[in-house]
Symmetry: C2
Subunit: 263 residues, 2 copies
């Protein structure tokens, strides 16, 4: 009997129709059997949202270049959970999400549905990585991502990742393969002017998300944003456990029990 090939679960937040997904599947096929389970419509900005009180339809589509392909009427995290419990016939060896149309660097990791799928894979104890290109266009050229996939995927299949840690890989859209890829930390930054205001025909206010990203430490060479603005691919390890050790700045919280009982 031959050893089964690695099983790679793929998801994203741009839907089963996104070209970034197709590029990713094509690039992963040499490394294992690929099953892709993706939202049936774009679900950008879904973070780790789950559908808690409604039905989720799952439909198998025609295979794509030898990969099994499913669409699900839910979020990226729903796609991963359904895969683990109902779609895959065994636990995958790796979860890969993307290629995202648009950056998931800095604070964007919190809102990204693509990184939500990665973190859900990580919560299942599976090595997981997300790839994103800093170009939102539906017809973006994903060439800059190809060598990063070829470098990281076999390494992670061989070595795994520590439990509870996944990778957020962002690739600058420089039109060619970047010359370097670096380990980085997430840049401190935020979005400003985030909503445009409108008035509907009945006089009611409504808002539409917009705004631009503000880098709070543009000179910090250790950050993902610095890498991207210098044509370098960033690799950021992300922990799904966000608890923090209580240091000096939270010392007072240690007395919380005494304060509570004496209140």
């Amino acid at each position: 009997m031959t050893e089964p090939r690695p099983l790679i679960l793929v998801s994203n937040d741009d839907s089963y129709q996104a070209s970034g997904l197709h590029v990713l599947i094509d690039r992963l096929l040499p490394y294992g059997d690929v099953v892709a389970v993706c939202p049936d419509a774009p679900r950008s900005g879904q973070s780790m949202a789950i559908t808690v009180n409604g039905p989720i339809h799952v439909t198998r589509l025609d295979d794509y270049h030898g990969a099994k392909l499913y669409k699900a009427g839910g979020t990226p995290v729903d796609c991963v959970k359904l895969s683990m419990h109902h779609i895959l016939d065994r636990m995958p060896d790796m979860v890969v999400a993307g290629i995202n149309h648009g950056s998931n660097a800095s604070i964007n990791v919190l809102y990204s549905g693509t990184m939500g799928a990665v973190m859900e894979g990580c919560a299942f104890g599976i090595p997981a990585v997300g790839f994103s290109l800093t170009d939102h266009a539906p017809d973006a050229d994903f060439t800059p991502c190809l060598r990063a996939i070829d470098t990281l995927v076999p390494m992670i299949l061989e070595r795994g990742l520590p439990r509870g840690i996944c990778l957020n890989v962002n690739v600058p859209d420089i039109g060619s393969v970047p010359a370097d890829m670096r380990l980085a930390v997430p840049c401190r930054g935020h979005w400003n002017d985030e909503y445009k205001e409108y008035t509907d025909p009945h006089g009611n206010k409504f808002y539409w998300l917009t705004g631009k990203f503000e880098n709070e430490e543009p000179e910090n060479e250790l950050t993902d944003e610095w890498c991207l603005s210098h044509g370098i691919i960033s690799v950021v390890p992300v922990a799904i456990d966000r608890s923090v050790p209580v240091g000096n700045d939270l010392e007072w919280l240690k007395e919380i029990s005494a304060r509570y009982t004496s209140f």
Copy 2:
């Protein structure tokens, strides 16, 4: 001129109609001016999801016991962002979310819309805390939460919280005020059997989220779940920056640049 009272922004994921919200507002009013901006319908499990490509209606409702009350057609994070940019006339001194109908302990912090609102407040640099009761019922008795609110809210208004750290407070539904509140870490755990399978009238499969929580370390007295199962309120500090220092277990990643360039 008198010093303005602290401004407290309130949100949740159970909607502006949830009784947990009303209990929270009533309990906060002695500590400051309260403005509540909440989803117009239940949005449990929305994590840090944002509405990236659609309009969000915002409607001011009748004041509730002296608190300004708004409903928004978006996620909990949308509510917080809209508050900061369009609804509040100044930055709030604190963001408080809840009281959530149901536990947000352990891994649930990742999926919770209520904790999404808390983390968004934290991303704005505002001290932020979420309160949850381990009872999903719409008419749950929130009495067990009251002393925790009275203990923590004035402390946090006075001392603040370190930048990037917020608090996840979970309260056991023991029908009376718990005797103790403790600093805790999130319990390792997961959900299993997560979907019930159905077939629709046209022969198509669909799924509905269900399943139960599995505690992976029930004897660990340091965890939030241990506290809750022993009638104790848990207070877990949560970091919004989830990057991790690269320790021995990720040493190979340090060579990533060399591996990439030689690929």
